[in-house]
């Protein structure tokens, strides 16, 4: 029994402390060093922050380069799929254009009326400048759903800015380096956005599911939402501007599920927007 225990200890000691001729570091030393790094990361140690920014810059570029062939391949596959569906889509789009042209006239009238009413009641009119950015890496990891953008602090990108694709909300900037930045996607499990659901004006929270759709959570009352109700940012909490379109309710995917307007797995160019407040 004692001999078995000794063998176990010898094997463990040999595995963690002994290093062969070609190994520069023992396993135990590296494990201790990595725990030390995790500890410093948790404390948001300033040195680690700068090292991370430096490593991020180099790694993001390298990663984009390594991923280039794979990205091009998947783009080509998508292109072929689109090509074969083009006729059918054309018919649908023609119908939609007619419908949208009609709607556009109504929206213009409502927009002007809204602006005029806001001026009367003295409300804030929010404007924002956009920074067009290319998606370098759309890493779809097991835990985090995020994208790397090719604009950073050099281009005045700041943490908390919103990321839009064709005016639809897709994420928020969570990390900024000198020439790159990382944005968490609205599909991420850690994403929670205050939203308003129209028609009805229900206030709620939209959470990511880690999949390609979101879910309505934490509403004040038991909600019974019909399919195709629109979900917009409510602007509560001040992290997002009010009225950014996100998606529509689709109870088929899950009860109170939200189908995003943007395909988050196909992002190539996005707009990063600050929310400057100008009182008119």
């Amino acid at each position: 029994m004692a001999s078995g225990r000794d063998d176990f200890i010898i094997a463990i000691r040999s595995a963690f402390l002994k290093k062969s001729n070609k190994q520069q570091f023992s396993l135990l030393a590296l494990i201790i060093f990595s725990i030390f790094l995790i500890f410093l990361s948790n404390l948001n140690f300033v040195g680690i922050k700068y090292i991370k920014i430096g490593v991020n810059e180099a790694t993001y570029r390298l990663s984009a380069l390594v991923s280039y062939p794979e990205k091009k391949f998947s783009e080509s596959v998508n292109f072929l799929q689109d090509y074969f569906n083009v006729y059918k889509e054309n018919q649908i789009l023609k119908e939609k254009i007619d419908q949208l042209n009609n709607n556009n006239l109504n929206y213009k009238y409502l927009e002007n009326e809204n602006k005029r009413l806001k001026e009367i009641v003295g409300d804030d009119v929010r404007t924002s400048e956009s920074i067009l950015s290319k998606v370098l890496i759309d890493k779809d990891g097991k835990f985090l759903k995020s994208i790397i953008l090719n604009k950073g602090s050099k281009d005045e990108v700041k943490i908390g800015m919103v990321v839009l694709e064709k005016n639809y909300l897709v994420g928020q900037v969570i990390e900024v380096n000198y020439t790159t930045s990382r944005a968490i996607l609205i599909s991420d499990l850690n994403s929670n956005i205050p939203v308003v659901i129209e028609p009805g004006g229900f206030q709620s929270i939209l959470s990511g599911t880690g999949k390609d759709y979101g879910i309505i959570k934490y509403s004040k009352d038991e909600l019974n939402l019909v399919n195709n109700s629109f979900v917009y940012t409510s602007g509560l909490g001040g992290t997002f501007r009010a009225g950014l379109p996100i998606g529509k309710i689709n109870n088929k995917i899950e009860n109170l599920g939200v189908q995003f307007f943007s395909d988050l797995s196909q992002l190539s160019y996005v707009k990063i927007q600050s929310i400057g407040v100008i009182k008119e």
């Binding site: 063998d7 520069q24 396993l27 410093l40 991020n56 990663s63 779809d140 835990f143």
Partner: protein, 166 residues
């Protein structure tokens, strides 16, 4: 000329595990096809376990540590988490190497399963308790299952490559 080509080929095959490891940690998808249905697996785990078990001098511990740092940066984890996870996998492989007299793929794969279960558990614990990152456990279980099943395939491939690179 023939000798030069053969020397280049040998060198390439010698460094192939290292190239594969760095390619998989830097690659956009982490050879992690989680966006193709539910199929997802972790190639770095397989590479690290296999080569630490069969030929630890092929990929140094320091290089695996750096691969972990690069993986953290690429997927947005706090620095040090992946390195720690990779090093625990090396620990399991080194322990198995020390106690094994007659290696067999079944014993190796069983220890590999324990190693990836342990590594993913520690990973989830660090991410959820230390850094308060929410985790989808279903995806992790799927990932562990496919990583375990594909170990047999990759181990066979690496068994074939190993003598060519020496």
């Amino acid at each position: 000329m023939v000798q030069k080509t053969s020397s280049f080929k040998n060198k390439f095959l010698k460094y192939l595990p290292l190239i594969l490891l760095y390619f998989s940690v830097l690659n956009e998808f982490d050879i992690d096809f989680s966006n193709v249905g539910v199929l997802s697996f972790n190639l770095p785990f397989i590479i690290i376990f296999y080569w630490s078990l069969k030929d630890p001098d092929q990929i140094g511990n320091g290089l695996i540590f750096i691969a972990g740092i690069l993986n953290d940066v690429t997927i947005g984890y706090p620095i040090g988490v992946s390195s720690f996870i990779y090093l625990t996998i090396i620990g399991f492989a080194a322990y198995l190497r020390n106690i094994t007299l007659r290696p067999s793929i079944y014993k190796d794969s069983l220890v590999f399963l324990v190693a990836i279960l342990f590594a993913n558990s520690v990973n989830s614990l660090i991410l959820s308790f230390v850094f308060s990152i929410e985790i989808n456990f279903f995806e992790i279980i799927v990932n562990i299952t496919f990583t375990f099943l594909l170990y047999f395939l990759f181990a066979r491939m690496f068994n074939y490559l190993k003598p060519m690179g020496t």
